[in-house]
């Protein structure tokens, strides 16, 4: 795998954007629930940077968070985050970026952007919730009473806003891609 300087800087900057996206809501509030735009940004990472670079940049994001930079939601970070049951969501962004990228690369119609965004969200939830379940089982030795259904029940609350946000990502991504391909010479190459 050969990375050119532009690949390195784009992936790095997108990881930084992701850190901004995770905490954008501390700058602006939508409703009263604290929401993060992490899913939204990871979907955009796949769509704008492409599958390979998108996944790399999400990996960079996860690792700098573990190394102690306050890049996760609510400005949290540190190696201890690996113990939080929600860490699976952060790992799932890597997969989300890769798969949305792959879908958009194979077909770049407006409809496929929308589908890719929704698929990304589903992956995010599936991977995150399964990880949460496994984490409770392994770290905490959760007894039989903690069922798989309980883990999913937990995740239902933020579902509507995430559907809304993924639709937004699907709608905004083609526009962003168009604008970026006008202003930057490199993005066209790396997105293609």
């Amino acid at each position: 795998m050969k990375l050119k300087p532009i690949d390195i800087t784009l992936a790095a900057v997108f990881a930084a954007l992701m850190a901004v996206g995770a905490n954008l809501t501390s700058l602006l509030v939508i409703g009263s629930v604290p929401i993060t735009l992490q899913t939204f940004f990871s979907v955009l990472a796949g769509m704008i940077l492409g599958s390979r670079l998108g996944a790399i940049s999400m990996t960079v994001y996860a690792v700098i968070g573990l190394a102690g930079a306050p890049v996760f939601a609510q400005f949290s970070g540190g190696f201890g985050m690996i113990l939080k049951p929600t860490f699976g969501f952060i790992l799932s962004f890597i997969l989300v970026a890769y798969i949305t990228g792959k879908i958009v690369e194979s077909n770049s119609s407006k409809k496929s952007y929308l589908i890719a965004a929704l698929v990304g969200m589903v992956i995010n939830y599936a991977a995150g919730t399964n990880w949460m379940f496994a984490a409770m089982k392994v770290w905490a030795d959760a007894p039989e009473g903690f069922t798989y259904k309980m883990a999913w029940g937990w995740m239902l609350a933020p579902l509507p806003k995430d559907i809304l946000l993924s639709v937004c990502a699907g709608l905004i991504a083609p526009r962003l891609n168009r604008t970026l391909s006008k202003t930057s010479r490199t993005i066209k190459k790396s997105a293609a």
């Binding site: 800087t9 700058l27 890049v71 905490a140």
Partner: protein
């Protein structure tokens, strides 16, 4: 709020733990996370506790910072303890409510799991409390170096981490600036119906992405102009030095493994 991105959670200090090689700390913490699961009776938990609390005291990180690291995991500890109290049905009954009962096994299991999580979070947060993200990046690059053989871009990955850390504060400032500029033009970020506020995202995101990508391109151009050719033959500003204390720390972890194996039942 983001001023501390570069140093992360790092608390400056001069203790032996602070001065250890980041590689030694990384290895020690990884091994520790695995061996915590070896403890399964009071004696082994007590020994693990002495080791963990001793290390924390040795680092001389002020207590408030340690407690701050515990906060996010606190509800999980409580939750699992309650879960075990009511759902682990082993040993004699201690309390009988009629509809449910608390068994001795549940109490013991609950305490063990709470201790396990507590020890895990204490030592893992100690890593980031005594090491800067940049040092950890250097440590990771050096530890993962063997992966270069299988064509994993270790050097590039570490470089991406450093660049990313460097850009986060810049991009946050940029975001604030754009928000102010768009508010001055009449964009509403904090009031109005949800649909309007979601729409207000577009005039925020588009300039943010354009400026971020421009920065990435400028930096890449600057790197190429200076003849950047990847990690091969590149020298370093900060060199990692493996000292006697690092070997000693790993030996201590080795002793911990042996003792835990002997004490477990």
């Amino acid at each position: 709020m983001m001023d501390n991105v570069i140093i992360g959670q790092y608390i400056p200090g001069s203790s032996t733990i602070h001065r250890m090689d980041p590689r030694a700390k990384l290895i020690a913490v990884f091994v520790y996370v695995i061996i915590v699961f070896l403890a399964n009776n009071w004696l082994s938990y007590a020994f693990l506790g002495i080791f963990t609390i001793g290390t924390v005291l040795f680092s001389r990180v002020p207590l408030p910072f340690i407690l701050k690291g515990l906060k996010p995991i606190l509800w999980i500890i409580l939750f699992t303890m309650i879960l075990h109290l009511f759902m682990t049905k082993e040993g004699p009954v201690l309390l009988d409510f009629g509809w449910t009962a608390i068994h001795e096994g549940g109490v013991v299991q609950g305490v063990f799991i709470a201790l396990r999580l507590l020890f895990l979070i204490l030592l893992t947060s100690l890593l980031t409390l005594t090491t800067t993200p940049i040092d950890i990046t250097d440590g990771i690059e050096s530890l993962l170096a063997p992966l270069k053989r299988v064509k994993f871009p270790v050097h590039e990955f570490a470089l991406m981490m450093s660049i990313s850390l460097r850009f986060i504060p810049t991009l946050l400032q940029e975001t604030e600036k754009i928000m102010k500029a768009q508010s001055a033009r009449g964009a509403e970020f904090s009031s109005g119906p949800i649909k309007e506020r979601v729409k207000a995202f577009v005039p925020l995101l588009v300039p943010l992405f354009i400026s971020a990508f421009k920065r990435a391109e400028d930096l890449a151009l600057a790197m190429e102009a200076r003849g950047y050719r990847g990690g091969e033959g590149r020298t370093k500003l900060r060199l990692l030095k493996w000292k006697g204390i690092d070997t000693f720390a790993l030996i201590m972890v080795g002793v911990l493994i042996i003792v835990l194996f002997l004490l477990r039942s």
